[in-house]
Symmetry: C2
Subunit: 325 residues, 2 copies
């Protein structure tokens, strides 16, 4: 039987949903349970399980590290939502807006600790290596969030700065979850590095597609309001790319529109979209995505996974290029 992503997703979600996160004091653990039981694709931990199983046929060894990764990822969302003043996530109030900022901070801290608790359950011979990748990645994700916050105050952000930010904030965790899977599956150092590259480039594709969907996606399919980045004047790929192409005069005008907080939302979204489209931003973003997709495939082909396994990963990578949600 060919083991697809779905196969591992079913296993992970069943295991993860069965964990009882609630203990005393409930004021602390109830919000954690709320944050962790919000559903979602659980993409990162599923990839950890799958890669471990591909290399070592020992998926069970990857369960706790996979739970650690999912818990860590959700911790970052809880704290990011405070920093970004975001009231809604996945159609529900965010933790801090439901329980208050203090609880948001502290239950986030506790989730981060909980993530390490699951790392601690890694089999001992793999623990040092897993811990190292996990901690390095956590540090990079924090740095990425800081860069993203810095962008809010900067008038101009270069494309290199933007790509570096999404690398840290989003892509490295995709690399890390796959690398941790490879480590646990007893892959060689070269294999681990190749699979990390595959994950990282796939993560870049994921984030660029996210930027596209936020403006050009279908509200029903995407599951969140279209145009949020434009309303919030976020410096996305679309914005940075467009800015780099405009004349000085056009740039001034576009900047004014993009930072306008008084204009009607729909009007702002439509006007900005028009500038994006005229700047050919969709096609640029797609070609940037394809560049990273090619790099991901090159890394995958350096690995010694078998043809069937490579096909599953290729299918996954391709789905990142075209996903609508």
């Amino acid at each position: 039987m060919k083991k697809t992503l779905q196969f591992y997703q079913d296993i992970f979600i069943k295991r993860f949903e069965s964990i009882n996160f609630i203990k005393s004091p409930e004021e602390l653990y109830q919000p954690i349970d709320y944050a962790l039981k919000a559903g979602g694709k659980r993409l990162r931990p599923v990839l950890t399980l799958m890669i471990c199983d591909f290399y070592g046929n020992n998926m069970e060894d990857a369960i706790n590290p996979a739970i650690a990764i999912e818990t860590f990822h959700n911790f970052t969302l809880v704290h990011d939502d405070i920093m970004d003043d975001a009231p809604i996530r996945r159609g529900r109030p965010t933790v801090y807006s439901k329980y208050g900022t203090n609880i948001g901070i502290l239950s986030g801290d506790t989730m981060f600790t909980k993530a390490y608790e699951f790392v601690t359950l890694t089999r001992e011979d793999k623990l040092p290596a897993v811990l190292k990748v996990f901690t390095k990645t956590a540090m990079e994700v924090c740095e990425g969030q800081q860069l993203d916050m810095n962008f809010e105050k900067m008038t101009e952000v270069s494309m290199a700065e933007y790509m570096h930010m999404i690398l840290l904030k989003t892509a490295v965790l995709m690399g890390a979850c796959m690398k941790i899977g490879a480590i646990l599956g007893n892959a060689t150092q070269e294999e681990c590095d190749a699979i990390y590259q595959f994950g990282e480039h796939t993560g870049m594709v994921f984030q660029l597609q996210d930027d596209l969907l936020d403006t050009f996606g279908d509200e029903q399919t995407f599951g969140k309001r279209i145009g949020g980045d434009i309303i919030d004047s976020k410096k996305t790929y679309l914005y940075v790319n467009t800015m780099s192409k405009l004349s000085d005069a056009e740039r001034m005008e576009f900047q004014k529109l993009y930072n306008n907080k008084t204009i009607a939302e729909t009007e702002k979204i439509n006007k900005v979209k028009e500038v994006f489209i005229n700047s050919n931003v969709i096609s640029d973003c797609k070609s940037e995505m394809h560049k990273h997709h090619e790099l991901a495939m090159a890394a995958l082909n350096k690995s010694n996974l078998n043809a069937e396994q490579k096909a599953v990963l290729q299918e996954f990578a391709e789905s990142m290029l075209v996903r609508g949600f």
Copy 2:
């Protein structure tokens, strides 16, 4: 030469002060450096070094775990100060009041990650044990902070609840820093447990003395404003003990005074102090401290440390009973 606490303190502070925490992005790491270079006694990591050296004569193995403990402790202060709205710590603006709440949250998260980075540098044969104690303790400290926040909203807090809160919020970290020292010094499981008990009970003494000093300390020696807990209506040992002794009518009246936000500060402090003194709270607190001191000494005597080493630890424990700062 007899190795005193001061001996290890000099070594640790020299090592710790020489670390350069600043890297890019500076907006993230500057506040971390600010938080970590605030001075202080560095009691917890110094104890880690000392206990490791006492057992195994291999202090160098304890340096990175000790730095991890100090970094973790300071992370908790950065986040606690946000949750407690505390503008000043050690005579300087707190991180969030100097750099803003978002930076306070994120640089705190990064300090927590940094703490784990130092844990990761533990020698590999001791890593699993150290990681386990460290993570368990971090979890308990979060729970203690939550209980402390819960107390703000509770009208009555029992003495048992109060003691449980300070155990988690303060004492377990004192136990953990010593136990980690013992683990690194190759002590047996029984020794590690005995030294943990010693540390935990000493931590209880430390916190109870802190409660006393906040109200009855000398402003010059203590280094912070006297009466802060009273002004903030904090549920301390003094408050909980007093409440348990008053008649129903007196309790109503005292509660009203303690929660009064409009009365002049000096008047409130003096009036509350008078009730404390009449309730014999100082002597009760001292006898509670002595109870924990006795338990600490009993645990110490179960250990196989030599007479000179025990004398150094006894001197340390006794200093916690009488410290003025």
